[in-house]
């Protein structure tokens, strides 16, 4: 029996709030299952302001911060904020927390350690569940915990983090890449972590975070994907996954201009300038990386790849459009008008 594929979309709060709300209503209208609101305090509007407002502008979408972190807000603030959004959108929220990326780099701190992740996730879960928590000798609790289930997911991209997520969280948002080799290796780590906690893979909600960029031609989609592909594959943020992905990458000398892009290549404000900074990488390498990374190509190509991945058990996707400072309008159109109808025709929606 085929299971339907669920599809969530990353929405960065980099546009004015009224435009964001119009956009999010459009995402719901196009048939997506949920939206994740970027939490990066310097780049975006406050994630909980955006989520709170999105709650009142939508009726069906699942809403979550994507992803928050354990160091820019106290765990009790995170729990209180999540419970507040849930009150406005009962049964439609998730809590997604990771070690922090631009939320850390832009304030000059390192991503959270796995020990910090364990502590924060345990605290937030307990507070949302109405339990008491020991804060250095002070008993804390969330006075308005509703007791309705709010899934707590950990975002992870390295093998150790994936195992910890499978051990302690209700689910995991995997940012690892998107081909057979990667998916199989990631599932192996998930299973190991789950076993440590006496659980099985089936007990976890698994969401695959997938870099997504659609265009009318494959060549244009790959050109637009250059900053993300190079960031992930050449600067080696996805270092763990290049080998299982089966990629054969040449050794390239990285020019200084790449490091000067603010806040970094894959979150660049000026996307064309970021594309220009990747000129040292041959097209052939970008093509390999694009295929390993996610859904980069024409809408038809993206639909075909999704169908292929469902055969490996991938049922739940979080699409991460490439740009942070431009709303992903073309992806919303592509999925609404081409990808979702194709999936529906195959019984996958």
């Amino acid at each position: 029996m085929t299971e339907p594929v669920r599809v969530h979309l990353r929405v960065p709060g980099t546009a004015p709030m009224s435009e964001l709300m119009t956009f999010i209503r459009g995402v719901e209208g196009a048939g997506f299952d949920g939206v994740g609101i970027l939490d990066s305090q310097m780049l975006c509007r406050d994630t909980f302001v955006t989520l709170g407002q999105a709650a009142t502008h939508t009726s069906r979408l699942t809403l979550f911060p994507a992803v928050t972190n354990p160091f820019t807000r106290h765990a009790s603030v995170l729990a209180g904020a999540m419970q507040t959004v849930e009150e406005l959108a009962p049964g439609r929220v998730k809590f997604v927390i990771g070690t922090g990326y631009t939320s850390a780099s832009t304030i000059g701190r390192k991503p959270a350690t796995l020990a910090e992740m364990r502590a924060c996730i345990a605290t937030v879960k307990a507070l949302l569940g109405g339990q008491q928590v020991d804060f250095d000798g002070t008993r804390g609790r969330l006075a308005f915990a509703a007791g309705r289930r709010i899934p707590v997911l950990m975002a992870a991209s390295g093998p150790k983090a994936i195992e910890v997520a499978a051990e302690i969280a209700d689910g995991v948002l995997l940012l690892v890449g998107f081909n057979r080799g990667i998916v199989e290796k990631a599932l192996g780590h998930l299973e190991r972590g789950a076993r440590r906690a006496g659980r099985r893979l089936e007990d976890l909600e698994i969401i695959w975070a997938v870099r997504t960029g659609t265009a009318t031609t494959t060549a244009e989609a790959r050109r637009l994907a250059r900053p993300t592909a190079v960031h992930w594959g050449i600067l080696r943020w996805g270092g763990h996954w290049v080998e299982p992905a089966g990629l054969r990458l040449p050794t390239l000398e990285i020019p200084d201009a790449v490091w000067k892009v603010y806040p970094d290549l894959s979150h660049a404000e000026d996307w064309e300038a970021a594309i220009a900074a990747t000129a040292f990488v041959p097209d052939e390498v970008v093509a390999q990386l694009s295929d390993a990374l996610g859904l980069i190509g024409t809408p038809e190509h993206c639909a075909d790849r999704m169908v292929e991945m469902t055969k490996l058990g991938v049922q739940n996707l979080y699409l991460m459009p490439l740009q942070t400072f431009t709303p992903p309008a073309s992806e919303v159109r592509a999925f609404g008008s081409v990808v979702f109808p194709r999936l529906r025709a195959l019984g996958l929606r």
Binding site: G13, T14, P16, M17, Q41, M42, L43, C44, R45, D46, F48, V49, T50, L51, G52, Q53, T56, F71, T72, R73, H74, S76, V77, A79, G80, A81, Q83, T84, V85, E87, L88, S105, T106, I107, G108, R109, L127, F135, D136, G137, T138, G140, R141, L142, A143, F144, E269
Partner: protein
């Protein structure tokens, strides 16, 4: 010419059901400022509540009254307040203090004076969109276009001085008796002068625990938990220089020992009986409250105005906040003159 009295109101987001209507009522009643309390374990998330407030009002200035520099990173606070400024069409203000139940419920120590100074200066720069070089990075909230006015909540002489020196305004929480008002103004003025400013350059608001009823006793009874909160907060670091009779010092310390931050400002909860238990109800009501019949309230406001206070942030921590706000603005405020 004597200034007219102006009023702001603090609301507790104890629930978001009906919160938008409550905010609309506050604006329609004529309040100039709408503050939302921040205590993450007790009340709904500050910035979600402020979003609801912004969407349900069109004129009133609004913001946290008050947040703290500890439970959220300063850049998160700057970003969130700028988001509220955008949602409200440029009506945001930012009240910040050293932290009360928000930090006591998580066992954290309050912000130091140096920490508060850093917060006021840094938040001022960040909300104006300026760059702050810190910890090896440039902190900048990219889309901020307008400097959000910063109010420092202050009780002790040194914090009041700091407010006079660095903030755009002050929320004075040391009390409303003529002696305390003069003492507070003098402290703010010392700070202002150190920065080459005068008292007139600062937007000064006086924090009052308020209620109206048919007798003074009936007005005070429902807000004793708020008076206990004032005693717990305003005198927590020291009693020196705050105009408190020495005979009361031990009783105040006793009340502070018994205070439960988890029941902060919640009517009918455990803190309500503390003012009687420690024999402080009358002292605290005279000092921190404007409460009684409408005529009593008018007289108490006039007494404060003669001492130099003319803008009041009042609490609505009563069973029927909407009726209370209407009565305050329709019966008390116009009679003040």
């Amino acid at each position: 010419m004597a200034s007219l009295a102006r009023f702001g109101v603090v609301l507790l987001p104890e629930s978001l059901a009906g919160f938008g209507d409550l905010c609309r009522e506050a604006e329609e009643s004529g309040f100039d400022v709408l503050g939302v309390a921040d205590s993450q374990s007790v009340f709904r998330e500050l910035y979600v509540a402020l979003t609801v407030a912004a969407l349900n009002t069109s004129r009133v200035r609004l913001g946290p009254l008050v947040t703290n520099p500890l439970t959220r990173h300063l850049v998160v606070t700057a970003s969130a307040v700028s988001s509220i400024d955008e949602v409200s069409g440029g009506r945001a203000i930012l009240g910040i203090g050293s932290g009360d139940s928000a930090i006591f419920t998580i066992g954290a120590p309050p912000a130091t004076l140096a920490g508060l100074e850093d917060a006021v200066v840094t938040l001022g720069r960040l909300t104006s969109g300026a760059r702050v070089d810190r910890e090896g990075r440039r902190w900048q909230v990219h889309r901020s276009a307008r400097r959000v006015p910063l109010y420092l909540a202050a009780e002790g002489p040194r914090t009041l001085e700091l407010a006079g020196r660095t903030a755009d305004g002050v929320i004075v929480g040391l009390g409303l008796t003529p002696e305390v008002i003069r003492l507070s103004r003098a402290a703010i003025e010392r700070g202002a002068r150190a920065a080459g400013r005068t008292l007139e350059d600062l937007d000064i608001w006086w924090f009052a625990k308020t209620n109206v009823a048919t007798t003074r006793e009936e007005a005070i009874r429902p807000i004793t938990m708020a008076l206990a909160a004032s005693a717990n907060h305003a005198f927590r670091f020291t009693l020196a220089g705050k105009g408190v009779p020495a005979a009361l010092h031990d009783r105040i310390k006793g009340l502070q020992r018994d205070y439960d931050a988890h029941h902060h400002e919640i009517a009918g909860a455990g803190n309500a009986e503390l003012t009687d238990r420690w024999g402080l109800t009358e002292f605290l009501a005279d000092r921190f409250a404007i409460a009684g019949t409408a005529d009593d309230c008018v007289r108490q406001i006039q007494r404060a105005m003669e001492a130099g206070a003319h803008q009041f942030v009042i609490t609505s921590f009563v069973p029927e906040p909407r009726a209370f706000m209407r009565q305050w603005m329709h019966e008390v405020a116009p009679a003040v003159g």
